[in-house]
Amino acid sequence: MIRRWSFVFSVATLIGYLLIPLLINQIFYTHLAILIGIHAILAVSVYLMLKIGQLSLAQAGFMGIGAYASALLTRDAGVPFELAFFLAGAIPALIAGVVGPLLMRTKGVHFVLLTFAFGEVIVLIFVEWTSLFGGNNGISAIPPASILGLQLIAPSSFLILTAILLSIILLCCHVAFAGDLGVVVEGLERNEALQSSLGVNALAYRCLIFSGSAFIAGLSGSLYAHYLSFISPEAFGFWTTVNALILNVIGGAQFLMGPFLGALLLAPLPEIFREWVHYQRVLYGVALLLLMRGLPQGFLGLILSRLGGRGNR
């Protein structure tokens, strides 16, 4: 019952997310929707790690790698967008696959601290390696996305790309977790020692998830770069990951739709209330505190428990 409801709810939200801005047809709303999508994708990458009970603070760094890779490949190397987009996911995934076995030897707090440091290293490299990454000035004049020769210059067409990508990512995660991978991942989060004693190579699976999450983060970076046509290192720092984490907590980190819902609720705020950015920070913080204490399952948890209650009656 709850399952069917949440599926209908998810599909409806995604369709509404795409259609409403297209129908209103004002650039500002399309712009908001694109930002929501990009943030949601990054938040999904954080969600994947939370799913195995680990918090990675390097996700924005992976997003940055994807953004720079995609930007440089299309602008300077003449690689077509489709390939560059794929590589924007694959390169961070590969990097995560290489450092994963090292970082993943630790868990919990140590892992958080190591990924924090790793994320900072990535940003430092962007800042310092000026000949390649342009230092603090970043990279500009990034060509727009283009699919099969069709340039996605109009925001509405870019929104369609973002929405399709977000849907594909959510669907892939849903299918993967509904199957055998979900069984392993739940076991990893709940009792890794026992899972290992049943013959599951926990480290390999954790690295797989880490790599997958880096892939998704990289894709969000590519979207970000081609949408804004300008990137600079500070967009990929620690606080970007923290924001993605907040989206999870507020939306409901137990649910695949949680990060998306969190993005829907929060990502537009800084754009709508530009003059109130500082008050917003305080508000974010207070909301986060209250949610952690009063509503640890996030808003989606609240909605689902309501739906569940109605289903039982």
Partner: protein, 259 residues
């Protein structure tokens, strides 16, 4: 695999934590076909020995051979796939999952031990089917059929521990490591557990290495006892011999009374 070949062979196993030497140059052989008890006072190093055998910890030095193959330094999952299972205190891993499904999953998880295995759908389907069949048989063996469709988390403590043994058995081990299987059980449940372990050994032919504080249970069940104290073996032999061993009495019972 004849009983003349030692099934598990431990040589000079050493492991320390910081300054504490938890396991100090231990050596022993387990021949196939026994229930062996590993006993000792609190902090003697029993759990550490288990962790070393099962691959949860890496020894500082020393070797472990299982069925003639070295296994020290291998990962826990590899050792599990080699045929050593371990039963845990609480085996209810999955949320909202029945007892039956817990046993089924325990039976096929090793078929997806590595991520690439997820791609081998046919092989996995075969393993799943075999695991289903085995689970039905195990439900009877464990006498858990009455609870088969209940959410495992709602089981009574005693039944959870039996489920723990069942999940270990579902992996089709040849050696079972049981760490305090009777801890926290009432006398009736203890008797059930004792019977179960005996049947594991004699009906299914699976060897057992058992850590247990309940000495009566150990003496009744085991046909060999290895006593540890402060990380070293202080007595080794049949229950009757160890029971009267002087070092054992002073170290184990003395320490036990003192604590």
């Amino acid at each position: 695999m004849t009983s003349a070949v030692s099934q598990l062979s431990v040589r000079d196993l050493l492991r320390s934590f910081g300054g504490i030497i938890a396991v100090n140059n231990i050596s022993f052989d387990l021949a196939a076909g026994h229930i062996t008890g590993l006993i000792g006072p609190n902090g003697a190093g029993k759990t550490t020995v288990f962790n070393l055998l099962a691959g949860s910890l890496v020894p500082d030095s020393g070797t472990v051979q299982f069925e003639g193959q070295p296994i020290n330094g291998l990962s826990a999952s590899t050792i599990a796939r080699r045929g050593i299972a371990r039963c845990f205190q609480s085996a209810t891993v999955f949320r909202n999952v029945t007892v039956r499904e817990h046993i089924v999953r325990a039976g096929y998880l090793k078929a997806i031990g590595r991520p690439v295995d997820l791609l081998r759908r046919r092989r996995l389907a075969d393993h799943k089917k075999a695991a289903r069949d085995r689970a039905e048989e195990l439900l009877d063996f464990l006498d858990l059929r009455h609870a088969a469709d209940r959410d495992a988390a709602t089981l009574a403590y005693g039944h959870q521990k039996i489920l723990g043994v069942g999940m270990a058995l579902a992996t089709q081990p040849r050696l079972l490591l049981a760490d305090e299987p009777a801890a926290g059980l009432n006398p009736v449940e203890t008797t059930e557990m004792t019977e179960l372990l005996r049947r594991v050994r004699y009906d299914r032919g699976i060897d057992i290495l058992l850590v247990e504080h309940d000495l009566r249970l150990v003496m009744k069940l085991c046909d060999r006892i290895i006593a540890l104290n402060a990380g070293a073996v202080i007595a080794d032999g049949p229950p009757d011999v160890v029971r009267n061993d002087e070092a054992f009495i002073t170290a184990y019972l003395g320490a036990d009374h003192a604590s």
